[in-house]
């Protein structure tokens, strides 16, 4: 049971692919995770937003790390935050020695150790003890760099190459343009091109080898080394040969024996990273990785407006353009199952004509047919007709006129439909968001509903005679009747429709019914898309308009805008 909203990912807004296309699922997100760009007037999602890092912080000590230090610290907290090598819980510093001023019962002096409050792993297991309780990362770095050969080796190699990169280029050798070998003096583009030409083609290894050997011979013969950068020979600090890791044939034999090992799925709960046994010999605490706060921008190349800008000091946001503030919240609930005798005999195929016949039959039987409320979690049965309520909650301070339809998908569905949807009320109004105490004058809105019903075909509003057009409410009414113009129909017709579809208004929320007819023998999930097109009032930019002239200019000044979005409703699986 979920309702997700469509994001067109920079493309022009268009109906999404039908739910049977798995590829369409990446375009749907819950409303709370979507953004809205006012400039582009479009929904944006996390996938299409451009994210930039606003700040780095350690999740353990919540210290904001300046971005200049982050690279040097290797994206980890450089203070005293460590995670347990066994269970990744943040470690605690514990004093083990006694100091003279405190009693012997409470150790409070050096040496300090790191201890895991969860699994009781202690840094004593790897013979780690600290002199001071502060700045442990630095102390540990010194200890670990002595044991780990890879890091100093890498640093030495980096230093060695750094001298090449940063040193000024030697003076170009004169008149030796015939040199085949690229140097730094040739532009990078040329170098890249040359590299691409010399790249080995897969399956042409032999040719490549020949070419290379030919080149080498030429080099030996010529002995010309003009234009070359002078780069000193790099000597490794340590070598695996020197460590006695070379065993020759023994290794080959060992690898042959490996063939007998079954390669299968690892037992549950032991990913290669978190497997404690693998790392028995190398169980040093790790510094805690930093977390980031992200700034998000509109991905449109012509827009690039900020959608999210966090405040580095607090949990607030300086800029927060989220879709929940612009689009109505769509929710589905109140499931009822129709119990009526008629109509079941006809249910053989899913053709539209037959569905229409059944629908008319149901409408005729409506007075007599019974509906039972069902739990939303109860299984959906094939061959049944369910009525759901769809709730629209308006986040805007102005009423919106909603038109609810089923979208015309750009491609035919992959699977035959297992259900049919009928929306009895396609047009309705959702009242504006107001302060909680303002909803007490609900009657006013009940009246407006009357206005909505009393709109005649030509658009001129037929106001209920019982209430006069007094005070400021009149302005609101006329505005609403403008909004309600599209709904059309005579008063009686409207009343019938209201009764049938059970439009339920409360505060800024309007609920309308939707009929879902599950076809006999249907299986799988009941998923359908809805196209929601809503009309809202746009405040005119000219704010300083004279009060007296308001009434005349209202119709001319007020502008109405439309916005269309698509929502995917998932009702759950049909159980046979």
């Amino acid at each position: 049971m979920s309702v997700r909203y469509h994001c067109s990912h920079l493309a022009d807004p268009a109906p999404p692919l039908p739910p049977s296309y798995a590829s369409s699922s990446s375009s749907f997100n819950p409303l709370g995770e979507l953004y809205f760009c006012e400039e582009c007037d479009a929904v944006r999602c996390d996938l299409c937003c451009v994210s930039e890092i606003a700040s780095y912080f350690c999740p353990n000590c919540t210290f904001d790390v300046p971005s200049a230090n982050v690279r040097g610290d290797k994206n980890r907290c450089a203070r005293s935050c460590f995670s347990c090598p066994d269970c990744t819980t943040p470690l605690q510093v514990q004093a083990t020695g006694t100091t003279e001023d405190a009693g012997p019962s409470a150790p409070s002096g050096p040496p300090f150790i790191l201890i895991c409050p969860c699994c009781r792993w202690s840094s004593r297991e790897v013979a780690l003890e600290f002199e001071k309780s502060a700045g442990l990362a630095l102390q540990l770095q010194k200890l670990l760099s002595a044991k780990d050969p890879a890091q100093p080796e890498f640093d030495a190699l980096k230093d060695h190459l750094d001298t090449y990169i940063t040193s000024p280029a030697p003076a170009p050798t004169p008149a030796r343009s015939a040199s085949k070998h690229p140097t730094r003096h040739i532009s990078h583009l040329t170098q890249m091109a040359a590299k691409a030409l010399h790249r080995d083609v897969p399956g042409m290894a032999a040719a490549g080898a020949v070419a290379k050997s030919g080149l080498r011979r030429e080099m030996k013969g010529g002995g010309e080394r003009y234009g070359w950068d002078e780069l000193g020979e790099y000597g490794t600090k340590e070598s695996w040969r020197a460590r006695g890791l070379e065993r020759g044939d023994e290794d080959v034999e060992a690898m042959r024996r490996l063939g007998g090992i079954r390669m299968g799925v690892e037992p549950e709960g032991s990913s290669w990273y978190n497997d404690g046994k693998r790392r028995l010999t190398n169980r040093y605490p790790e510094r805690i990785p930093l977390q980031t706060k992200l700034t998000k921008r509109c991905p449109h190349p012509a827009c690039r407006h900020l959608l999210i800008q966090p405040d580095t000091k607090s949990t607030r946001f300086k800029i927060k353009m989220v879709a929940a503030n612009y689009l109505p919240v769509v929710e589905i609930g109140r499931r009822r199952r129709r119990i009526d005798g008629g109509g079941h005999g006809l249910m053989s195929t899913g053709s539209m004509e037959e569905a229409e016949v059944r629908r008319k039959e149901r409408r005729r039987l409506r007075g007599r047919g019974e509906e039972v409320d069902e739990d939303m979690g109860a299984p959906i049965r094939p061959g049944e007709v369910y009525t759901f309520q769809i709730a629209f909650t308006n986040p805007l301070y102005d009423p919106i006129q909603v038109r609810l339809t089923q979208p015309t998908a750009p491609l035919p569905a992959l699977l035959p439909a297992n259900h049919l949807i009928h929306i009895p009320t396609r047009d309705f109004i959702v009242n504006p968001l107001k302060d909680a105490w303002s909803y007490d004058d609900e009657e006013e809105y009940a009246d407006m509903e009357g206005t909505e019903m009393g709109t005649s075909e030509d658009g001129s509003s037929v106001l209920p005679s019982s209430r006069g057009t007094l005070g400021p409410a009149a302005g609101k009414r006329s505005r609403l009747s403008v909004l309600a113009t599209s709904s059309g129909g005579t008063l009686r017709d409207k009343e019938r429709r209201k009764r049938e579809s059970e439009v339920d208004k409360k505060g800024n929320c309007t609920k309308v019914g939707v009929e879902v007819e599950i076809l006999p023998g249907a299986t799988g999930e009941v998923v359908f898309d809805l196209e929601v097109r809503f009309t809202y009032r746009v405040d005119d930019t000219d704010g300083s308009k004279p009060k007296g002239a308001e009434k005349e200019t209202q119709k001319g000044k007020e502008e109405y805008k439309h916005f269309t979005f698509w929502a995917r409703v998932d009702l759950g699986c049909i159980s046979p």
């Binding site: 709370g32 019962s105 699994c119 999210i308 929940a324």
Partner: protein, 190 residues
Amino acid sequence: MGAFDAPIPYDKAVYIETDTGNKVSRKALIQGASNIVLGGKSIIQTGAILRGDLRRNAPGQHPVITMGRYCTVGENAVLRPPGKMYKGQFTYYPQRIADFVTIGKDAVVEAAQIGSGVDIGEGAVIGQFVIIKDLAVIRPGTVLADATVVSSMSVWEGNPGRLVDTLPETYQETVEASCRSLYQRFRPNA
């Protein structure tokens, strides 16, 4: 949001409503009530245990458990202040809970500080001196080790609890609306 949320009726005889709108079950075990401060519009459900009696050793009045507004303590949840040895003596430290905090049923909370908009799931165990910053979710069944720090906008799960996800930017509005709605719907049955 929450257009279809049903009212949550309770037995009028079981709950006491205070002047500030707190709804406290008579069947909740509240010890050291004078050391417990409730901000108003909070719900303490049946079977919850609040240990206000575990107070600091120093003389004078010290609030032990402070709770903000729109908080909910679920059925059979346990709230007790953290304690440790300090200068050779065992002492308890106050527990501060901000607004819009939901503590699920059967949860055991010994945190030192819980920020606003925190949702602690059913059966979660929050160790001593844990600090939970504003807007965080502790999923049901999570066990947070002692002195863990939960940063803002994060989701924690597992035993031991690990950071598994982050929350969307709209979470603050969502959680405040749902806490308010829960309080509105928690009404005596007619």
